[in-house]
Amino acid sequence: MRTAVVVFPGVNCEHDVVHAIESLGGEAELVWHRDTDLTGFDGVILPGGFAHGDALRTGAIARLSPAMKEVARMATDGAPVLGICNGWQILCESGLVPGAHIANRDLSFICRFEELEVVDTNSVLTRGAEPGQRIRIPLNSYEGNWVDPSETGRVVLRYVDDPNGSQGGAAAVSNAAGNVVGVMPHPERAIDDLLGSSDGRVLLESFLHDD
C-alpha cells in the first residue's frame, strides 16, 4: 500500500508519519499541498502541525489547497484517508468528516499520554483493533474539543478521562462509510516501546491493511 503524506506550510509531523508507516512495512511519500495529482497512491494521511499558522481557523486555509481536491476524490472512491490532529481539523473544514474543533474546555494545551477506548471497529483506523481495547498514545493539541451539532460523526475512539470536552469523548471520528477518519492524539508517536508506547501500531496497521 502506497500512502501519500500531504505537506502543508506549517505542518510538523510529516516525517514522524513517514517513519511510522515505513516501520510498519508500508510505503509513504511526502507530497506538497499544491500537487494536483495523487494518482498511484492507495491512501492518504494529513499529518499534524499548524497548517498556514492556523490563520482564521484551524484547517480553514489548508482545505483550499489543490491537493485537497484529490483527497476528496480518494475519499469518495473509498480509499483510506486519515487526518491526525491538525489533519483532522482540515478534514472537518473540508466537510469530509462532520463537525468542527474549538479550544479545549479548560483552555490548556494538552501534551501528554491519553488512554483511549476503541468503541467502533468499522473504520480504517480501528478495523484491526478489538472493541473495548485500551490504547495509550500521546495527545498534543489546543483545539481538540470536537463539536458536531449534526450528530452524524461516528466516534471510533473515545478518551477514557475526557481531557478536553470533546463531544461524546471523541478522540477519533469516522465518516459514515468508515474510510475517512480524523484522530486527535498521535498514533505515529507511539509505534515503539522506546517512545513510551507502541499502542499506535494497531491503529496504523489498521490503516495499512484491510484484512
Binding site: 482564521l56 483550499l64 473544514e93 463537525g99
Partner: protein
C-alpha cells in the same frame, strides 16, 4: 467600500475562552457581566460602488471561507464611504 463582518459563535456552541474571560471579570468584581462571548470582527476594504452587490459578494466570502457554518453565524455591515463620494 469599508465592510465590517462580525462572526458569532452560535449560542449553543461552547466558548471556553469567553467562559475564562468571564471568570476573570468576576474575580475583578465585575460580577454583573453575566455572558462573555469572544466573537470575531473582520474589516475589509472591498472594490465596488453598488452596496447590494458588495454585500452579496461579502456574504458569499463568509459562506465560503470567513465563517464556519458548523459553529458560526455572520453579519455583514457596510460603512458609509469616507472618501466624500457617497
Amino acid at each position: 467600500m469599508r465592510v465590517t463582518v462580525t462572526i458569532d459563535r452560535r449560542p449553543e456552541i461552547a466558548d471556553p475562552e469567553g467562559t475564562t474571560v468571564k471568570k476573570a471579570l468576576h474575580d475583578l468584581g465585575f460580577t454583573e457581566a453575566t455572558t462573555v462571548r469572544m466573537d470575531r470582527v473582520i474589516h475589509l476594504d472591498v472594490d465596488g460602488d453598488d452596496p447590494d452587490q458588495v454585500r452579496a459578494r461579502v456574504e458569499e466570502m463568509c459562506r465560503q471561507l470567513l465563517a464556519n457554518p458548523v459553529l458560526e453565524d455572520f453579519a455583514v455591515e457596510l460603512e458609509p464611504s469616507s472618501d466624500g463620494a457617497g
